[in-house]
Symmetry: C2
Subunit: 137 residues, 2 copies
Amino acid sequence: MKKTKDILENNGINPSYQRLIIYKYLKENQIHPSIDRIYNDLKNTNPTLSKTTVYNTVKLFCEKDLLLRLHCDDKQMRYDINTHDHMHFKCTKCGKLYDINLENNLFDYDYIDNHKINYVHIGLKGICKNCLSDKKD
Amino acid sequence: MKKTKDILENNGINPSYQRLIIYKYLKENQIHPSIDRIYNDLKNTNPTLSKTTVYNTVKLFCEKDLLLRLHCDDKQMRYDINTHDHMHFKCTKCGKLYDINLENNLFDYDYIDNHKINYVHIGLKGICKNCLSDKKD
DNA sequence: TTGCATAACTGTAAAAATTACAAAAATATT
DNA sequence: AATATTTTTGTAATTTTTACAGTTATGCAA
């Protein structure tokens, strides 16, 4: 288990107290949280934390490729610390967001139409298994 | 060539003047425009058009599946009238958004992990061919 | 045609998310 | 210890989107 401090330092990030607790929160709560969610969950134990710091820190993590920006269909941006290849499934009924593993390398193109491909995101939408089993309508 | 009026009516939309010009604009300008772009381009010829009407109309088209909401990495939502299966490629250098055709049916799963799949979006990022050929740095 | 009911449009105001910024606090350096 | 640099904080400003209420347009019956 790598130390959070080392992870940040290896990625060129000065491991301040706020950066450490935010990174740890993201690792321990892989729920694709929004800024607001991160802020509200952390301010209980860290009353002096500022929402601007959360914005700044999350932006920094994204720039260093430690964190991924996730567009749900919500208004708020959400963030994903899971760095393994995976897809996202959003239930259009209950709104829950699921991680789906990418077994086979569906996408290992280096180039498509002469564009260099660096990153692929696959987003799925539909009705999740829980909503399907609720045969209430 | 189908008449815009018929397309709207066939989808249960009352073809008002504003809805017609907005639909025609989207068909003739497949540039994934934002609300702002649509509004600004149309208000030249339609000075009384309200931005709220653009919001309302675009929302209606999306609900009727005539139009797709597209999350770029910009702040503004963008909209896509191209209803054929295709992917999107965003150049992280110049910011341009390209349509990429989906030749093979990469994704024809009905269910994954017992979730019913209704819609798939594949988003690619990288450096586009134009930026690649600009060997200026 | 006239009057009435419904639908659509408009513009302003409000809400929500994000960014800018400057002062304060913490940390590092000389 | 004094100074310089980095980080954090809180407020204000900006931006996008939504709510809403009044106005205008449209459809329909008498």
